[in-house]
């Protein structure tokens, strides 16, 4: 199994604080991998390094055999990594459809003068963009909301729109930062199916940060656990769940303990274990 994403001993230091401490992480093609950990464990910082928003203090990141360190975020996208954000970052003043079209930016060959002169390239690009946007909005179930402003969509739909927008960049790997945060159980269930369809139907590799253990335990191939920036466990969902160090990391904090214990204790009750 070749790794699509290969992260070696990546490290990020803010001032004196080590946010991510020599994490090694590898994702095989067409996998669904979860990164979990208590709040402040460095998960989002880890995503930000992969997507070029932060430059790692040390370590290497390679994707599809290419070095990703030092690339700007937009260059990382061109290489095939897309992402969503924990604190939804849609373009609020644009319509749902337009948000997806922005995601098509790297896929369109239109240049400044094509747009000014409405050349054949502009027309075919616009057409292809609209067709693809239509497919993606159908895929996430937002086709009938296409002309609404993104800011006016309800929360759950905004999360799904973020996924559609990220997919528009035509990624090989998509990083989802808490895709079910703030969703009700039914929306969570739908999103879980959406993530699985992503991999099964389109062959996209998925890495997600997630707090909802029902989601993590049921859809992940493997789970990686971060605590205080350090990787403390990695493996199959079942193994990680029973790892004493992981339980301590959660129980030790109190706040997340009940949630983790409860959800971890009843994984089969959801009835769709991987």
């Amino acid at each position: 199994m070749t790794a699509l994403l290969d992260v070696q001993a990546v490290r990020k230091v803010f001032g004196g604080l080590v946010a991510v401490n020599d994490v090694t992480f590898s994702v095989p093609e067409k996998a669904i991998v979860s990164v979990i950990g208590p709040n402040g464990a460095g998960k989002t910082t880890f995503f930000n390094m992969i997507t070029g928003i932060y430059k790692p203090t040390a370590g290497t990141i390679s994707f599809d055999g290419r070095n990703m360190i030092g690339l700007r975020p937009d260059e990382v996208v061109t290489n095939g990594i897309a992402r969503t954000f924990q604190n939804i970052r849609l373009f609020g003043a644009m319509t749902t459809l337009e948000n997806v079209l922005v995601g098509r930016h790297t896929q369109s060959k239109t240049q400044f003068f094509d747009a000014l002169l409405h050349t054949a390239r502009y027309k075919s690009d616009e057409r292809a963009g609209l067709l693809r946007a239509k497919e993606l909005l159908e895929f996430v179930g937002l086709l009938d909301k296409r002309d609404e402003l993104a800011a006016n969509l309800p929360y759950g739909e905004q999360r799904r729109l973020e996924i559609a927008r990220a997919l528009a960049t035509n990624p090989k790997l998509i990083l989802l930062d808490e895709p079910t945060a703030g969703m009700n159980p039914q929306e969570t269930e739908e999103t879980k199916h959406l993530i699985r369809r992503l991999r099964d139907d389109t062959g996209i590799t998925v890495v997600l940060i997630e707090h909802d253990m029902r989601v993590v335990m049921t859809i992940s191939d493997t789970v990686t656990v971060l605590d205080y920036g350090t990787k403390i466990a990695e493996g199959l969902p079942f193994d990680v769940r029973n790892n004493p160090q992981v339980i301590e990391a959660y129980l030790g904090r109190g706040a997340a303990a009940g949630e983790f214990g409860k959800n971890a204790a009843a994984p089969s009750s959801t009835g769709d274990a991987v």
Binding site: A93, R104, D125
Partner: protein
Amino acid sequence: MSALQDKRSDSSGFVVIYALVSSIVAAIAIGINLGPLRFIPLDGIIPDILKTLIFLAFVSSLLLANSLKTSARAKMIVFLFVLVVAIPVIGVSNTQYLDILVNICIYSALALGLNVVVGFAGLLDLGYAAFFAVGAYLWAIFGSQQANNFTGGGFPLNGNFMFLMIPIAVVVAASFGALLGLPVLKVKGDYLAIITLGLGEVIRVLANNLNRPINITNGSQGVRIAPGSAPLEGFLEWLSGLTGIELFKLELLMYYVVVLLVVGLAVILTTRLDNSKIGRAWVAIREDEIAAQAMGVPLVRTKLIAFATGASFAGAMGVLYAAKFSFVSPESFNFQASISILAMVVLGGLGSIQGVIVGAAIVIILNQMVLTAFSNFLADLRRGGLPLPSQFEPAQYQQLIYGIILIVMMIVRPKGLIPAKRNAAKLENLERGELAQKVGKQ
């Protein structure tokens, strides 16, 4: 706007009739006097304020045609009739109004350019007048004897070269924009405002001081273009002889036609950009830089395109400004000039093409008609014996007006009088095969 969703009743008939009636009323009130078309000269009978109001009612027929629900044909009729027939006929009779319309057009094009930078891309540029200065000085220097100071001679250029200078100014100003933008656009959003403000000052200082060691700009005295060097001068003289209309009126009419064409072109180009990948990338950056970058939009490059595009509009209008006013000096391009254009964009609606044109029209009319009329009115009262202090001179307090516009708009209506609508990208375009024709509708 899609006809499918528009539930308003059709106003085509009303708009056409309104345009016709208001033109005739305006023509009578302003007193057109063109040989066979001789209306009763009502000069001195109708007070200036009333004339101004009638004129405004007449010009607003364009706004009505564009904002009410009308058929495409009715829109076309109103626009063609008002812009091509009524304005030239009335304007030649009373050049004061035509002059204001020319200024509205010049500032509309400038506002459309600044709208690309501030409205679409969200980059607050407070030194926009610098690019305006670049274009204006280009023509002022080469269209007068000024250029002889640093070349072998042979200047001024013939007035017709102005038409060549417009595309040159577009390229030069865009290059200036890109050159200045390259270091500056990496800087965080709110610092950009201060830096562009500084750059605006730098250009003004340069214009003031580049008269030594070689006299390029003639310093603070400015550059004057000799009379009789307007473009198409020969043709206009011939036309003047033919029609009996004074030459200066025909010159003004010629500028009207040129700036109108430029504004039309500017509207088409900005609409096209707005509805393309580039316009969407601009708005995405305005809304959220990090998310835009995470969608593959290269920040600096995209901002640079916005900066250069905005600058190119200002460059083109600078040439026309220099030609029309025959005089250019550093003080025409100070901070206040940049702010006046910003006020137009903010008033009309950031990112709204129709809005910024309306904004430009309102600010110019306010400055050149309302404030002056108000000043004259107060002067009359004073002469009538009312003890008003002479400091009540509204025409001198334009900055006060700009300031109030900016504050009030931000508090009450931050999206402007005519907010931008982002609904040009529609899946229906696919089915209707309208991709090629989606132009000029905002």
